[in-house]
């Protein structure tokens, strides 16, 4: 069985490293099709990353070591978080009791270094982006914790592996009231964390409305590539988390299950693409409403469970 475990880990690593940029390609293709355009090729982000990696960097004289360290540490933290989360019906490569706290705070660490690098440039504009990012994180982080709390309470386990496999083994997910709430809340958290449309527009360069883009304005070349890659990775990891709640299906055949997982992930990407085609970005002052809504949903899920 050691051999099987090894293959699982290898496939996990391969998907984690290679799949995320394709996800963004799917989102952009969906948006393009909805708008009647042909759109960029699916592999566009790979080309972009490849191009950026060959370029030089411009470093401002006011910046310190934090500036280049920010994106790199962010990428490392997000990658580590990706190793903690199980994909589909398979186990995560790293698992121990309480790893949900590490998972949540790896995202926190990534956020801290992204904002620190933004503040390091000394630009007022990047400072504004950083302030927005942490303000909204104040609401999305508790929502994530409530969601994990509901799963932990429901399965009686503090290991992500066991918690997230709960919907398959212990209870049918779509049929459980608290899980419906948590899944809705988690979807909003996913959109907020990955800066997708109702919260932030990834395409816009309109200065006053950006959140995430504002923080990466001064990064160029390989560092920008790292930032783009890390945010694609974040999207992939959070959709893997969400999929455990909304589509806990398994066929029983190993390779079929991997295929199913990949298809489901593309499903999430298409869903996001459709949502982005249908909705406009929210007014900045309304974003906290939406996030408070997500927090209330996850909190209500918890109340429903413990009442």
């Amino acid at each position: 069985m050691l051999g099987m475990g090894l293959i699982e880990t290898l496939i996990h690593l391969m998907l984690l490293l290679l799949l995320p940029p394709l996800l963004l390609g799917v989102i952009n293709k969906t948006k393009a099709l909805a708008a009647g355009r042909v759109g960029a090729p699916y592999l566009q982000l790979y080309y972009d990353l490849f191009k950026l990696m060959r370029k030089g960097m411009v470093l401002s004289r006011t910046t310190t070591w934090i500036f280049p360290a920010g994106p790199v540490i962010t990428l490392a933290a997000v990658m580590l978080a990706g190793l903690l989360i199980p994909f589909g019906p398979f186990n995560a490569p790293i698992a121990f009791a309480g790893d949900l706290i590490l998972f949540a705070y790896l995202f926190g660490l990534a956020r801290f270094f992204t904002t620190a690098a933004a503040l390091d440039t000394g630009s007022a504009f990047e400072g504004m982006g950083a302030a927005r990012e942490v303000t909204f994180a104040c609401l999305s982080e508790p929502a994530l914790f409530f969601a994990l709390l509901v799963l932990a309470k429901k399965t009686g386990s503090l290991t992500l592996n066991h918690m997230l496999h709960g919907p398959i083994t212990v209870f049918p997910a779509p049929a459980e009231a608290p899980l419906v709430l948590v899944a809705l809340g988690l979807f909003v958290v996913l959109l907020a964390e990955t800066c997708r449309i109702p919260i932030d527009d990834p395409n816009t360069h309109l200065e006053l409305t950006m959140i995430h883009e504002a923080m990466s304005l001064d990064h160029s070349g390989p560092l920008l590539g790292v930032i783009l890659y890390a945010s694609a990775l974040k999207l992939f990891i959070l959709s893997a988390l969400l999929l455990h709640l909304v589509a806990p299906f398994q066929s029983g055949y190993m390779y079929l299950d991997w295929l199913l997982f990949v298809v489901e992930t593309f499903g999430v990407a298409v869903l996001i693409g459709i949502l982005e085609s249908l909705m406009a970005r929210l007014q900045m002052k309304r974003v906290p409403y939406l996030l408070t809504g997500a927090l209330l949903l996850c909190g209500a899920g918890f109340i429903l469970l413990v009442r």
């Binding site: 049918p172 459980e176 419906v180 709430l181 408070t292 809504g293 949903l297 909190g299």
Partner: protein, 214 residues
């Protein structure tokens, strides 16, 4: 079945909060319509087997609450040419929070109620009470006549959920009578709304205070 029912009721509760947090009246109409259509499905889940009256009642509920009433309201909204609730008495976020607290409180408190055995596990009672409360919040904090009608509809949805407890006992004819009452009520209110709009060129019900006998 029971789990499916609870999942549906939870979505109804989420729609309540959305209705509280949306400023555009058209969106609120869509939300309330969705809620009504979802509620129409519940009797189908509660009855073990499908008989003709049950299916008829459910279809009537879905058509009436999901299509007919929203269509009337959208019509009078278009006639009145207003788009959004400009100034609710308390802001949108506070009213969402108020609704959420009411919902949470009811969820906790309904465990204390002495309910019959089979009702303990379903969310029917808490969902109905919190929907009624949310309808009440909508009704009392909005000033536009159409928003108040929407509050009334949400209130009625809450009562409809409560009626699900007696779904085995209510005769078909009574149910149809209730739908007819609701339909006529909304119809009349829409006409009154248009009249308010014509008289004051605004739908703000506070203007009604200025109607005095000289």
């Amino acid at each position: 079945m029971l789990e499916m029912l609870n999942a549906l009721l939870v979505i109804v509760l989420v729609l309540n909060l959305f209705a509280l947090g949306t400023s555009r009246i058209l969106s609120v109409i869509h939300i309330v319509a969705t809620q009504g259509a979802l509620l129409g499905v519940i009797p189908l889940l509660l009855h073990g087997r499908l008989s003709l009256p049950v299916v008829l009642a459910a279809t009537a509920a879905i058509i009436l609450k999901g299509m007919a009433i929203p269509a009337i309201m959208i019509r009078s909204l278009r006639a009145a040419q207003i788009k959004r609730e400009v100034e609710p008495m308390i802001g949108l976020l506070p009213s969402v929070l108020l609704g959420a607290f009411a919902t949470g409180f009811v969820l906790l408190f309904s465990k204390q109620l002495p309910l019959a055995g089979q009702q303990i596990d379903t969310l029917i009672v808490p969902a109905s009470i919190s929907t009624i409360l949310v309808g009440f919040i909508l009704l009392t904090t909005r000033f536009k006549a159409l928003s108040q009608v929407l509050g009334y509809l949400v209130l009625e949805n809450g009562i409809f959920i409560f009626g699900m407890l007696l779904v085995q006992a209510i005769p078909f004819i009574v149910e149809m009578g209730m739908f007819l009452d609701l339909f006529v009520g909304i119809f009349v209110i829409s006409i009154i709304t248009n009249h308010i709009n014509q008289a004051f060129s605004s739908m703000d019900t506070r203007w009604l205070v200025s109607l005095r006998e000289e």
